[in-house]
């Protein structure tokens, strides 16, 4: 089943579906970049809302190196290997802002390093507009003077580019240290303080709700690229549900490295 793409539509389709399981999010990334490359969907901005805490980790990372597997299992934290490279992060529903951009290659600077800076820029401007003094830090970080507030990752597939970004609205640093395998002296006060120094969260700087932050970021990308709100199609959802089950929930994928 394929969808017809409205040739007259320009700019982004913005989709913000109901909260979904972690594997479905990663399946939607694969589905939408493939379909964009195949000319079967429009350039899209997708907002992620989660149902469980999770650890999205990098495509080239070792599952066992990154995750306290037993703790994660006992506490309902779902690890999923991303389609993109980069590092691991602990995310909890309501505590992070995550979105994916699916763009034609021709909309994106050819130089990869420049493209990270360029595609992060609207979000950075949105946060600055809310009074958070953040900047892009090469290659793929969003930085505040107090620490890293988020990061991006990209995948190119034919004529399509996926650029997704996660930023901390709030963060339970102790829980992050329990879930991720970061260092030996975990959960010592020193380790918690050290981690808190490296990480910045939006709630330290603003009173706006997470939804207001998401609205500001979406508005910034719509200003940049044009477009309007839309919905995922049935075909996109069916493909993603299928991939979530057959790939992104499986040990074959998540524990492949």
């Amino acid at each position: 089943m394929t969808d017809s793409v409205d040739e007259r539509a320009t700019g982004l389709r913005v989709v913000d579906p109901e909260p979904l399981g972690e594997p479905v999010h990663h399946a939607l990334d694969e589905t939408l970049i493939e379909r964009l490359d195949a000319g079967e969907c429009r350039p899209t901005l997708r907002v992620w809302r989660r149902t469980t805490p999770a650890v999205p980790f990098g495509r080239f990372q070792s599952f066992d190196d990154e995750i306290e597997v037993e703790y994660a299992r006992e506490h309902g934290v779902v690890p999923v290997r991303r389609v993109t490279g980069g590092g691991s992060m602990y995310v909890a529903p309501g505590d992070v802002v995550t979105y994916s951009l699916y763009l034609p290659l021709e909309w994106v600077p050819a130089d990869v390093e420049a493209s990270y800076a360029d595609l992060d820029q609207p979000a950075i401007e949105a946060l600055r507009g809310l009074g958070i003094d953040v900047r892009h830090e090469p290659l793929n970080d969003v930085e505040h003077d107090d620490g890293k507030i988020g990061g991006s990752a990209q995948l190119r597939a034919g004529d399509a580019v996926l650029h997704h970004t996660t930023m901390s609205y709030d963060l339970d640093t102790r829980e992050m240290l329990r879930v991720l395998r970061i260092g030996e002296e975990k959960l010592s006060d020193k380790a918690v303080k050290s981690a808190e120094k490296r990480v910045a969260v939006m709630t330290d700087y603003l009173t706006e709700s997470r939804d207001e932050v998401i609205d500001a970021i979406v508005a910034a990308y719509l200003t940049r690229f044009g477009g309007e709100e839309g919905t995922l199609t049935d075909a996109e959802r069916e493909r993603a549900d299928d991939l979530a089950e057959t790939k992104f929930s499986t040990r074959e994928w998540n524990e492949s490295l």
Binding site: G58, R59, F60, Q61, S62, D65, V83, T84, G85, G86, G87, S88, V112, E113, P138, L139, N140, A153, Q154, L155, R156, L257
Partner: protein, 89 residues
């Protein structure tokens, strides 16, 4: 023999190497928080240094990795060479 290394590269990415070797490199696993396109090229990069003498110079390792048709982002062939040789040091 089997050795491991973790090399922090300029820009902050971590490249981990796990190497099985005797007089020559037998098998290599490269892991880390880098970017690589196409992603499937990881196996080709790992295979590219297999068979090299364990005491081959840095340039031999870096040159073999650079031969692979892939775009390395956030790390480069020199970083892989450094990590692989360090795992055997």
């Amino acid at each position: 023999m089997r050795g491991e290394s973790a090399v922090k590269v300029p820009g902050g990415k971590l490249v981990r190497a796990s190497v099985t070797y005797e007089a020559h490199v037998q098998s290599v696993e490269i892991r880390g928080d880098f970017f690589l396109e196409p992603p499937e090229a990881l196996a080709a990069i790992e295979r590219s240094v297999e068979g090299l003498p364990r005491d081959a110079p840095h340039e031999a390792f870096a040159g073999a990795v650079a031969e692979v048709d892939a775009t390395l982002v956030g790390f480069d062939a020199d970083d892989v060479a450094t990590a692989v040789r360090e795992a055997m040091a």
